[in-house]
Symmetry: C2
Subunit: 274 residues, 2 copies
């Protein structure tokens, strides 16, 4: 079973139907994947996800309104986190670990701070804290203004030859699933999600209360040259959390975790197994 | 063969007799250990050194004037680095990796920048760059002013119960060698070494030229609460080197690498094996 071949399952909660895929080991704390701006289950890197799933259960899902899930995408991180919590509890999972990338990292922070018993450990990549520095609109606008084979090449990778080569390999891996792929979204997803991210970063918080409330072990992974969420965010998050490790990768942009899949998987395993 | 039991060997270069100990695998690039302020071969953590030596050759040595080596301790990082280079070349080693801790990290930076063919990879822990922020005299002075079982407990570990417990375990491990221990040094070592460290941090450099000259892969490991060399040094070094990874550990002081020996060894292996 792999991310590319896992069957899409469904969970009904109220009038919402969540789409999700499970893979990996059956025993152990499951790792729940929280996806980036406009991303679906099929936007994850199969190499990263399949390798992590060798030693633990992994669950990818689409939050409300995304891909093959129904419902309406909310425009706040807090509501998205509440929806993710409904999904976790709907699956009857007593405890989960979280891997949150970009927008997903914001949900992971809220969930970890609010639910110390439900969330065991968090890995946050390409993250920004409440009140953090973001350049979403400018950078995304510039990336879409340039014609190219995939907007993730300028958005997730640096301009160097090595990083772009790694980016093309990532994009090819992420296209591996042919059957039952999640549909891409439109403005009904990107608009509320952009509002949520911008609102999160605009909301200054007294003494970084959310991060200070996170007592669980946290692994913060970031690229040296993330243009949307600069790496100083990651350093500041590390300093504010009481039990965080910081990992910064060289010549890497927002998609640092997909640029060095083997390295990232090893670091995740070391962290989750401790 | 372990750090506690390895035979002390000697290498004569000119009128200097270097003391060193070799352990671990015979094949592979050797990892040379570069020690901290006033430290000898016996100041290393046997758990860290022995675990790293399971998969590669490891060499500990005393630089000029330290412990069981002869000669006079110089008062500049540059001369200490030149002496270390003589030692490496005296052993006929074509290439080495370096693990430099604190003062040793400064030697590692100079060696990596000056000798791209001799130095393959560097791991620098508790490091400061040229022109970096240091609080050596105040912090060491305060630590010696408080009576305690070992000055490394306040200097290398944070005041939390967990960190101090890890500190006591480290000190106990570092005392394991009973026979043929290196003698502790006096002012003839601490004075020139302090001058070297303070001079290194006081010497501002145009555009961080030393760090920018380091093209080799570098792993920067630092504690969240290093009182002598604040963690922002590590972040700034990461940003200035072109191929560095940064790893910051929580609730950890200058001795972060000895507080989490298993984690540090795993991270070193991942880095050195890549």
């Amino acid at each position: 079973m792999s991310l590319e071949t896992a069957r899409t399952e469904h969970l009904d909660i109220g009038d919402v139907r969540f789409a999700f895929r499970r893979l990996g080991a059956t025993a152990g704390t499951p790792l729940l994947l929280l996806q980036h701006f406009t991303g679906t289950m099929d936007s994850w890197d199969p190499e990263v996800v399949n390798c992590i799933a060798e030693s633990r259960p992994v669950i990818a899902f689409n939050n409300l309104g995304i891909g093959s899930s129904t419902g309406r995408t909310p425009d706040t991180v807090e509501q998205m986190a509440a929806d993710a919590r409904s999904f976790i509890q709907g699956l009857d999972l007593p405890t989960v670990d979280l891997l949150g990338f970009s927008l997903g990292s914001m949900l992971a922070q809220v969930l970890a701070a609010q639910h110390p018993d439900l969330i065991r450990k968090i890995i946050i990549a390409g993250a920004a804290p409440r009140g953090g520095e973001e350049h979403l609109v400018e950078v995304v606008g510039e990336a879409f203004a340039v014609a190219g084979p995939d907007v993730r090449l300028p958005l997730f990778f640096t301009p160097t030859e090595e990083s772009q080569r790694a980016g093309r390999a990532f994009v090819a891996r992420a296209m591996a699933r042919k059957e039952n792929r999640d549909p891409d979204g439109g403005d009904d997803i990107s608009e509320p999600q952009a509002k949520a991210i911008i609102g999160w970063c605009a909301s200054k918080e007294e003494d970084q209360a959310t991060l200070r409330a996170i007592a669980q072990p946290a692994l913060v992974v970031h690229g040296s040259d993330d243009t949307m969420f600069p790496s100083i965010n990651a350093y500041n998050m590390f300093k504010a959390m009481r039990n965080a490790q910081l990992l910064l990768y060289p010549d890497a942009g927002h998609g640092a975790l997909f640029q060095y899949p083997e390295r990232f998987v090893t670091h995740c395993r070391t962290f989750l197994d401790e």
